[in-house]
């Protein structure tokens, strides 16, 4: 995507919708009554929602806890193939009224690794139905291109296995996506610390999605605030144009081109 001009109106555009926050908040792993404080401290404008939780009409409903004005991003967790993802996405739209959908197709219960092929198929079907498709994927350039061609609004590569808090384990491959794709790259899964979120943003990621990093923190709303600052700092650094990283500390004292007349 290349560097963007640093200006005050730095907007994050997703499927035609503009956001100022670049922090997408997960909601699946901590108590609902902390969601509002986390959203406030995070400055988040998008919060995910698993339909399989929201589908609970008896005691508590996550929809009652997400502050008004915040965009709800339903996900298709629980789906193991494209067809299941499509069905869950349609149900999600009915319940949440949101056209956004984070497409997660996970036929692997151990590492929860997404199936890129099935994900691209789901994007193809859902994009035609007017969904704003946000596919969660293993960072593979060819798969990302397939998803883009199928109508994805962004690409959400994993940084490390879900829940691992291992940070940017797939850094080199995410960098390729950032360099080569025209769509926003939202780094999802595996980000465990604000510094890792900052690093991804410095690289040019458009946004960060986090859940476990907050859920496993001692103070969830406070950690949401820390992430907000880190993401903003990383974004500012990216827009400012990162200084060149010197290998071995300095430029060569005897340049190879010194002989040229």
């Amino acid at each position: 995507m290349g560097n963007e001009k640093n200006n005050a109106a730095d907007k994050f555009v997703l499927g035609g919708h503009e956001f100022t926050s670049r922090f997408i908040l997960g909601s699946g792993k901590y108590s609902y009554d902390l969601i509002k404080a986390a959203v406030d401290n995070a400055g988040a404008q998008i919060v995910t929602m698993a339909l399989r939780r929201a589908n609970d009409d008896s005691k508590t409903n996550i929809l009652d806890y997400i502050p008004k004005g915040v965009t709800i991003l339903p996900n298709t967790s629980g789906s193991r193939n494209a067809d299941e993802a499509v069905r869950i996405a349609r149900l999600s739209r009915e319940i949440s009224g949101s056209d956004f959908v984070k497409i997660e197709v996970i036929p692997d219960t151990k590492y929860l690794l997404p199936d890129n092929y099935q994900t691209a198929r789901a994007v193809e079907i859902l994009a035609k139905e007017g969904f704003i498709c946000m596919p969660y994927m293993y960072p593979d350039l060819n798969a990302a291109r397939d998803m883009a061609n199928a109508g994805a609004a962004c690409i959400m590569p994993l940084a490390a296995p879900i829940g691992s808090n291992h940070g940017l384990a797939t850094k080199d491959f995410i960098r390729i996506l950032i360099d080569e794709m025209d769509l926003p790259i939202i780094v999802d899964a595996g980000i465990g610390r604000p510094s890792q979120a900052c690093e991804a943003m410095e690289m040019g990621a458009a946004a960060i999605m986090a859940n476990t990093a907050l859920a496993t923190a001692g103070d969830i709303p406070a950690m949401a605030g820390a992430f907000r600052k880190a993401i903003e700092a990383g974004r500012s650094a990216y827009l400012a144009g990162m200084g060149e990283e010197r290998i071995k500390g300095a430029s060569a004292s005897s340049p190879l081109t010194g002989y040229l007349r």
Binding site: N55, K59, S79, G163, S164, N165
Partner: protein, 412 residues
């Protein structure tokens, strides 16, 4: 009688389940427990063979504190050998460290969510002779079986409590509780619940496929013990006696399209370390073969029954139970772990804090206990030790800063 029983006992024989009658019955000729009966579907035995071989090779006394420390250093990617070390006697001094590690893994994968559900026993007829179970065909248990309207009433009463997940159980009588009967119960359950599990007799994969169509998505089968020689002395008659048919039930369920399968050894029947190791290996091997399969563990210890109040889990005390459950968690961090009402509220509340992620509430093991007059109810399978209501369990979860979740699934 005592002397007689003790003479029969090896180191891992739980004498609390024996009686003179049982000892007499054990002397009688019995069918070969390793040979399939007609109509039993035979599938590839590879997983069974690997599980039993791994268990046979497991020498838990060979593990040392260093092995346990090494296993703990591997947190997040525990190997079968690490799992073996965590279940060994050498791990006992490290129990606090193991529990802490298990809690970290649990929170990473599940956050603070704790799923709630309840079992419903729709029939307690049984054709097996499991010498430790109150439902067995020789037991003087009061039998009962709910018809469709009885099931509907019972489920409506359960659903009124707010629960969204139900586990349907029967005694193991294919004759009385046919596959069609269980299927009808699943269809009724679909009216009231979002998630339906079944814990019934093992069946063929096409029958699991049928029940999946009727709405069930999770199948639990307790292997009781993975030691086939011991298994043979505990299950004296009935289809359940056929060890390979039972051990391969989870795989047949997955072949039939079920989303998830549950595993358990009944702790206290035999050498609990070997049984726990085999249970973990069974789940681990099946998940490798069926990566989309959702894996669940139950961790039942033997309990007293109406007809035998002496039954106890032998050497599986609370510390051993925690060691097993925490080892399951570390070995398979993503697995669901259910904590049974066989345990009391103190143990259950602590286990959900550490590594269990699923808890039943308002549990009743008798048939029709939610709505039927007492004289029409069937006896329970075992005595429960935590009779808290849905509301009480819900509030107990909240009180620990955990999040009660009633539904975490969509039937697709």
């Amino acid at each position: 009688m005592k002397g007689n029983i003790d003479e029969m006992a090896d180191q891992h024989t739980n004498t609390s389940i024996l009686s003179e009658q049982i000892l007499e019955d054990q002397k009688k000729n019995r069918i070969d427990h390793m040979t399939y009966l007609p109509d039993m579907e035979q599938i590839d035995p590879t997983i069974m063979n690997k599980v039993t071989a791994a268990m046979a090779a497991y020498d838990y006394d060979s593990y040392t504190g260093d092995d346990v420390r090494r296993a703990l250093r591997h947190e997040g990617h525990i190997s079968p050998d690490d799992f073996a070390a965590l279940l060994s006697p050498a791990a006992k001094p490290f129990l606090e460290d193991i529990a802490q590690a298990a809690m970290r893994e649990t929170r990473k994968h599940f956050g603070n969510a704790i799923l709630m559900f309840t079992p419903i026993y729709i029939a307690n007829y049984c054709e097996n002779y499991c010498i430790y179970c109150n439902f067995n065909c020789h037991s003087k248990t009061k039998r009962a079986m709910l018809d469709a309207s009885g099931i509907d009433r019972e489920m409506a009463a359960i659903a009124a409590s707010g629960l969204k997940e139900i586990l349907i159980l029967t005694g193991e009588s294919r004759r009385k509780s046919s596959v069609e009967y269980i299927g009808e119960a699943c269809r009724i359950a679909r009216k009231y619940f979002k998630v339906i599990g079944i814990e019934v007799y093992p069946m063929n994969s096409d029958e699991y496929a049928y029940l999946h169509k009727c709405g069930a998505d999770y199948v639990t089968v307790f292997q009781e013990t993975y030691n086939s020689d011991k298994y043979e002395t505990l299950h004296l008659a009935g289809n359940k006696r056929i060890f390979p048919y039972r051990i391969n039930a989870q795989e047949r369920a997955l072949m039939g399209g079920m989303r998830g399968v549950g595993f358990a050894a009944l702790l206290g029947l035999d050498d609990f370390r070997k049984d726990a190791f085999a249970t973990g290996m069974h789940a681990w091997l099946l998940q490798r073969k069926y990566p989309a399969a959702e894996i669940a563990f139950s961790c039942p210890r033997l309990r007293p029954t109406i007809n035998n109040e002496r039954i106890n889990p032998m050497d599986v005390h609370e510390a051993e139970l925690l060691q097993i459950v925490a080892a399951y968690r570390l070995f398979m961090p993503f697995a669901s772990i259910t904590v049974s009402t066989r345990e009391n509220a103190r143990v259950r509340d602590n286990l959900i804090k550490i590594c269990a992620v699923k808890i039943s509430a308002d549990s009743k093991t008798g048939v029709g206990e939610h709505t039927q007059p007492a004289e029409e109810q069937g006896d329970g399978q075992f005595e429960i030790d935590d009779s808290r209501s849905v509301e009480q369990v819900y509030n107990a979860i909240l009180a620990q800063d955990l999040q009660p979740v009633l539904n975490d699934y969509i039937y697709v």
